[in-house]
Amino acid sequence: MKEMIKMVVVLSLICGLSGLTLATVRQATSARIEEQVLTYVQGPALEQIFTGYDNNPVKDRKAFDTPGGPVTIFPVMKAGKLTGVAFETFGKGYGGDIGVMVGFTTDGDKLQGIGITTLKETPGLGARVVEPDFRNQFRRHSTETIALSKSGGDIQAISGATISSTGTVAAVNEAVKIFNTIKDKLPDAWGS
């Protein structure tokens, strides 16, 4: 009986102590981890979209409420003036969701470009949506009538990867819809 009690006590103590340690470490690192995730997952996509900005979009991010839930908006500024915004939307791909960072200019109704954040598509086929040949079709594209060429638009799908191409386009259109609902609030948010 005594042995039994000792077993239980020791095991619970060890588990409790390790739980305490983990909670402390997590507390201490959580803020930094969030920062790192945004820098390394969303950051490269932002760099693909925008050039010539002087702020840190990840650091200046703000969350906006939209009908579809909160969206984190990354602002791009030059000399203190807001020049564009970007945020992430998801489209259905062949191997899971494709995360697409869509950038808009503040001055007009044009896309600045897109960048891919996460994807699990087939290498050599669907994964080619990250290649500049496909992405650059969205650069300075009008926000109206974004569609694949087979649906009457002017975006050339990647041959053999219709699902991935469609998913990306759907994500971009989703972003356009969100952008239209928040467009007016943007200048106030970053004071320019």
Binding site: T122, P123, G124, L125, S159, G160
Partner: protein, 326 residues
């Protein structure tokens, strides 16, 4: 009295009757069966084909000799099996393959595919396919039979099917495919010559009919199922049989002695499995032609299929069940 020069009676241990079949004769027969396809490859692709085949064969023989020397084993190159492996590997390559790719691939066939498992008869996978898989993964750009042969006006049927859909291949005539008017590996597309070679092997009883029949049957049946599901999206079964390396795989790659099962039922199942896999890979995979990978996958099932075996006379001595029960 002196001994007569030719003895009247010879005293020896059995067996007393020999059929004259030796390993070397056997391998040479395979070589003869491959010869028509090799000749047709040279006619179709010119001296480039000759260059690739000669280099591949020479490297294979040298690699086997080097491996034997390194492992301090008896030299085995005189059974010509390395020569056949080299030729089979060359049959899978495009005529434009650079020399280093041919040399590395052919050496890998022998080194990684065969000698590392103890030489002829020990390989669990078909040696030419091991080398092919290594090259296909490493240098996809050089192994692409379509992209490296742009100056040729032959149509690449499987690439067209993969990238442009079934409409693009509907104009291809089965008879011209049969005569080898298509783009692919050197020898794998000389369908009529390979069929002649395969018939020769069957007649000489070097291969049993089970594996080729199972392979072709499995391929046609699977292709037919897809065709019936949606004729607009999937190519007809005959196209799948005649395009690419299906015939080559059925008669020459899948029948590799040590990597295919022994009995007739296992061999039949093995063939069906490989044939069905070809279509599955052609339909869903990212590679245009699924034959080599399909056969490699089927090779992996060989030990399992080999457990289907007849009961010994006076049995059952079920050694294997006891082993499982432990």
């Amino acid at each position: 009295m002196l001994k007569p020069l030719t003895p009247i009676l010879t005293v020896a241990v059995p067996p007393h009757i020999h059929c004259g079949r030796t390993l070397r004769r056997y391998v040479l027969d395979t070589l003869v069966a491959l010869l028509p396809a090799a000749v047709m490859a040279v006619i179709a692709f010119g001296t480039d084909a000759l260059r690739v085949m000669a280099l591949s064969c020479a490297t294979a023989v040298l690699a086997e000799a080097a491996c034997n020397r390194l492992m301090k084993r008896e030299q085995t190159v005189d059974d010509y099996s390395a020569l056949v492996t080299g030729l089979l590997f060359a049959f899978l390559l495009p005529a434009s393959a650079p020399w280093w790719l041919v040399a590395i691939g052919s050496a890998a066939c022998i080194g990684l595919g065969k000698m590392i498992f103890g030489g002829l008869g020990g390989n669990p996978l078909s040696p030419p396919l091991v080398g092919w898989a290594l090259c296909r993964i490493s240098w996809p750009a050089f192994m692409d039979t379509n992209a490296t042969m742009l100056m040729s006006d032959l149509p690449p049927p499987l690439q067209q099917l993969k990238y442009f859909g079934v409409d693009a291949v509907s104009s291809l005539d089965p008879v011209s495919l049969l005569m080898g008017h298509q783009l692919g590996g050197l020898g794998e597309i000389q369908i009529i010559a390979l069929l002649a070679g395969g018939a020769y092997l069957l007649l000489r009883r070097h291969i049993s009919w089970h594996i080729p029949a199972g392979f072709i049957g499995g391929l046609l049946a699977t292709a037919l199922i897809y065709r019936l599901l949606d004729p607009a999206a999937y190519a007809p079964p005959l196209f799948h049989l005649l395009a690419g390396g299906a015939i080559f795989g059925a008669f020459f790659l899948a029948t590799d002695e040590s990597s295919s099962p022994l009995g007739s039922l296992p061999a039949l199942l093995f063939g069906i499995m490989a044939g069905a896999m070809v279509i599955v890979i052609r339909v869903y995979g990212i590679y245009p032609d699924g034959v080599p990978f399909a056969i490699l996958l089927a090779n992996l099932f060989t030990p399992l299929l080999d457990r289907i075996r007849p009961k010994p006379f006076g049995g059952p001595y079920s050694f294997f069940d006891e082993e499982d029960a432990r």
